[in-house]
Point group: C2
Chain length 271, copies 2
């Protein structure tokens, strides 16, 4: 039987989910998607995602791939498939578009680079409209963005990021990763000030972005100098880095596939 590979562009609010990866008896993004696919196709349809996110982490550009049989798409459009999935899943997850991709495509292994954005706010003002996706670092002082940007430069490039990985996940694993760029900038959203840490890299370790952000906040708050980060990297020990920033500030923003630019161009899919 002929098969066809599809990729889904998925957004979700991390708050209600126990993370992306399915876990028996718990509400997860993968569990919701695969449950919908099982109802639609009356069989198990395994899926692969670009980046497994922890409980509470959001996504606006997650990509999930699956293999279907040709005949399973013969009586429906890709648009109607997206609609069916959305009708069957929790309101906190939404399939924006489904496209056909080259046979054997893997949302995980074919990824060229991934982008995460982390939003935080500093000071006395509790974020209100932005609180579901912002870490409020309560303090009477402002963060030093210049110092954070300097510190971030030490993280760019290829390094052993063992210090930025959940210790147990790092055991016996290759923890060398390449970070293409980190930008730290101010961004007002719905009238509320915040700082965004935008991280682009080929792949990331468990909790790596959140530990990078927690480490940058140590610098921005003045507790550490920017060049301390060099030291943190060299130690290859999770205890050397700053705390893990909370999950709700993190958004899986985008993933790019080699040879497949604009994979979901015009994600406002029409029939």
């Amino acid at each position: 039987m002929q098969t066809v590979s599809i990729a889904m562009l998925v957004s979700y609010d991390g708050e209600p989910f126990c993370g992306y990866a399915k876990q028996e008896g718990l509400l997860t993004v993968q569990g919701e998607l695969e449950n919908a696919l099982r109802i639609i196709f009356r069989r198990d349809v395994p899926t692969v995602c670009a980046g497994r996110t922890d409980a509470g982490v959001h996504a606006i550009g997650q990509v999930v791939s699956a293999e279907l049989f040709d005949r399973e798409l013969s009586d429906r459009t890709l648009r109607s498939l997206a609609r069916s999935i959305n009708a069957l899943t929790h309101d906190g997850v939404f399939v924006k578009k489904v496209v056909v991709v080259p046979r054997g495509f893997s949302a995980r292994f074919d990824a060229d680079w991934r982008e995460y954005r982390y939003r935080l706010t500093y000071g006395n003002n509790r974020p209100m409209l932005t609180s579901p996706f912002t870490w409020w670092v309560k303090s009477s002082r402002n963060l030093d963005i210049e110092a954070m940007s300097l510190a971030a430069k030490y993280m760019e490039g290829e390094h052993d990021f063992k210090s930025f990985c959940v210790a147990l996940s790092a055991v016996g694993k290759n923890t060398v990763r390449r970070v293409n760029s980190i930008d730290v900038y101010n961004e007002s959203v719905m009238g509320e000030n915040g700082i965004v840490v935008r991280v682009v890299g080929t792949a990331f370790l468990h909790s790596m972005v959140r530990t990078m952000v927690g480490t940058l906040v140590e610098v921005g708050s003045g507790r550490r100098d920017p060049n301390w980060v060099q030291n943190v990297i060299e130690k290859c020990d999770r205890r050397a880095a700053g705390p893990t920033a909370p999950a709700n500030g993190l958004v899986f923003w985008h993933v790019e596939y080699k040879g497949l630019p604009n994979l979901f161009a015009d994600s406002n899919q029409e029939d």
Copy 2:
């Protein structure tokens, strides 16, 4: 006894509240603020707000005024007063700053102009991170922003806005208001596309902004021509206008007071 007038800059997430105005036995913003003031000062402290908002409407720039006795401020700073109020109120409301204002100041009657912003999104993509403050007008078509801008021009200036007011609220009242400006523009927030309708005016009738938005969407969707709005205004009949847009897209953004520019400058208050 000497008195002192204060103004508070207040933000709130409209979702948990049954509106701004206090109602016996219901969770309201005013109820929360006045309850906190009663606990702090051991007496009833009446408050006046710049704009009473309906259930579900948000605010990032609401202003609330009150009169205190001099001695009530003698043993505390304005910053510690804000902190005390915030410790005693529901998490959905936050006092960003408290300032002393000229004696007899009224947040309502001394307002020069008020600004509301309404956020909506059109198309097949359900907003995810922005859904708490966005009206999703589900449709396969895009909104025509040019047509909406043209239609909005008819609403600018001084008009009888009876057609845009909850019918019962308008009975026997002066429904002439002045709208200084309306801007309609695209704005991406957290990677999610939306359209913002920004309305500035001296004062507004009950549900006026939401009815203006509902009317502009009739035009943007192509169901009506821009000049139809001229007709709606002239009819002075609520039934002539479009539907009332949902509360959750609306944010009370800012209020300006004559002779008191930058009243809350640097709202990230220090001790």
